[in-house]
Symmetry: C2
Subunit: 309 residues, 2 copies
């Protein structure tokens, strides 16, 4: 039974969906990427959810994702810290990226449902994940379901999660819930956490409530900047200071959320790193406007935010 | 000025967004694909909008699309009949597919906007298309904008189309409007058709109205089955029989639209071709249920539909 224990080990803690830097020609910049990843780990984060929504991963080709992953591993970032996004519209692409991640020894994969067709059935989504898992065919595979209906417009019902967990209990290991709806997160935790299913919130705004309810932590865009403080709440959540720490995280997040979050995060990184190249995003996203960084930095500072790069 | 005349030549007529057959392992089946494409052209269609929504193109990898296009051209299908879909979430993928289509001599490309991020700006979408056009950098490129908000949830405003046409008058050649909203199609025709911009309806239900208003035709899923009849209305739209022909097309379309259209079309093809392999779809779509084909075929027959494969 010891083997079973191990196979049920699940991730927990704070992960950053790592921003992807681009060069002047909008090509992914592996050097800046690795440097940022190492900084995030040095802040204490449990790991790196590279190739997520915040990473503009769907604005990258499969080849570009593979090259970045390879460069990252080559730079010495430990594969056990990595939870790459591998869910694409095409089963072929999802299988290829997931196989690569497992082969590289990544801790798990964070998998979007196929998101082009809307109004698809739970049966169709179940088959998507069943095909993915069977085709990867590796007992080391750990799938974390990526639920982000505000953007993907395709998501995971409780019934679908239940069916996936029942069919692949060792493989379907958890979920990132970016619904923004704590009622949904609570329902997922209440239904599945007792079996070890790890439910991450998609924002640190829900981190304390997530942990008190029995969840696993958070995977949050703003962990790209406010990493140490978010991780601090994870470590101190049972302390008397926890509610105060949560309130301080929220104040910082408020400032980011008044802007388009991805360009705002990149602008803040560019500012503190004194490295304007970090501002670049791929279309259809737009860089933060030239005059918009200073007020953001001021607001963040007023909320107690500082960044040492 | 003659050069200008030529460069403004635009497509018109009826196109089929060609269904993509899969084998028992859910891999694309190039042989069946080429056979179906040739059948469609033999029915009289102007061309083949391969790799569209009906084609499950976003369920294919870039490599799979490239291989299918190559096989199709190798089978003797003329490139001038092809209007492949090349718009992906990733600029890198869209550029690669579009370059390949132009190099192959395709008549044009039908381009989805990047569809992962929602609520993006017209400026961001303009930049996506500007980057695509500049990076392909080929005067032969003809871009048809693919507007399908019910599925992509990202679309083209009149202001965005106006800006694209003004910036790239020879390249941005037309649109497929799959909004299902004839008011939108009318607005696009009224604003841009006088400059040669070709507005296709995404359903033959609007074909007669499209042509009477000054549009270019239709690109419709059901043209995979009811090809000759739809093309017949295109040829006869100025005749006294046109309204009757439109009513007959609508009756056939009604039967398909009561079902999930892609699986229904594949089931009908499988039935008439006596080739059950045609039924297969990639997840997240689902095949039509076993008992659902016979009633569909009956309804279609009652609407006057027959198919000779």
């Amino acid at each position: 039974m010891e083997r079973d224990q191990t196979s049920r080990q699940r991730l927990s803690g704070v992960f950053a969906p790592v921003l992807t830097p681009f060069d002047a020609n909008l090509l992914p910049d592996a050097r800046r990427f690795a440097r940022h990843c190492k900084w995030l780990l040095a802040q204490g984060l449990r790991g790196l959810a590279v190739f997520g929504t915040t990473s503009e991963a769907n604005s990258l080709s499969v080849d570009e994702r593979e090259s970045l992953l390879e460069a990252l591993l080559g730079s010495g970032v430990p594969p056990g810290s990595l939870l790459p996004g591998t869910g694409c519209c095409s089963l072929t692409d999802s299988v290829r990226l997931t196989k690569g991640a497992v082969r590289a020894g990544c801790a798990g994969v964070l998998v979007l449902p196929p998101f082009y067709y809307k109004g698809v059935t739970d049966e169709g989504l179940f088959r998507s994940f069943a095909e993915l898992i069977e085709r990867v065919g590796d007992s080391r595979l750990r799938v974390y379901l990526y639920h982000i209906p505000p953007i993907a417009h395709v998501g995971f019902s409780l019934a679908l999660v239940e069916r996936l967990v029942a069919a692949y209990p060792d493989t379907v290991a958890g979920m990132k819930d970016s619904s923004g709806d704590m009622n949904n997160t609570r329902a997922m935790i209440d239904a599945f956490a007792k079996d070890g299913f790890a439910v991450f919130s998609g924002s640190e705004r829900f981190l304390l409530e997530n942990l008190r309810r029995g969840g696993a932590g958070c995977i949050s865009a703003t962990a790209n900047a406010n990493a140490a403080a978010i991780d601090g709440l994870y470590r101190e959540w049972q302390s008397a200071e926890a509610d105060g720490l949560q309130a301080r995280l929220n104040a910082v997040r408020n400032a980011f959320e008044k802007r388009p979050v991805i360009p705002a995060l990149k602008a803040v990184l560019a500012h503190y790193a004194k490295d304007p190249a970090w501002r670049a995003v791929r279309p259809p996203l737009l860089e933060l406007g030239a005059g918009e960084t200073a007020p953001l930095v001021d607001e963040l500072r007023a909320a107690g935010f500082e960044m040492q790069l």
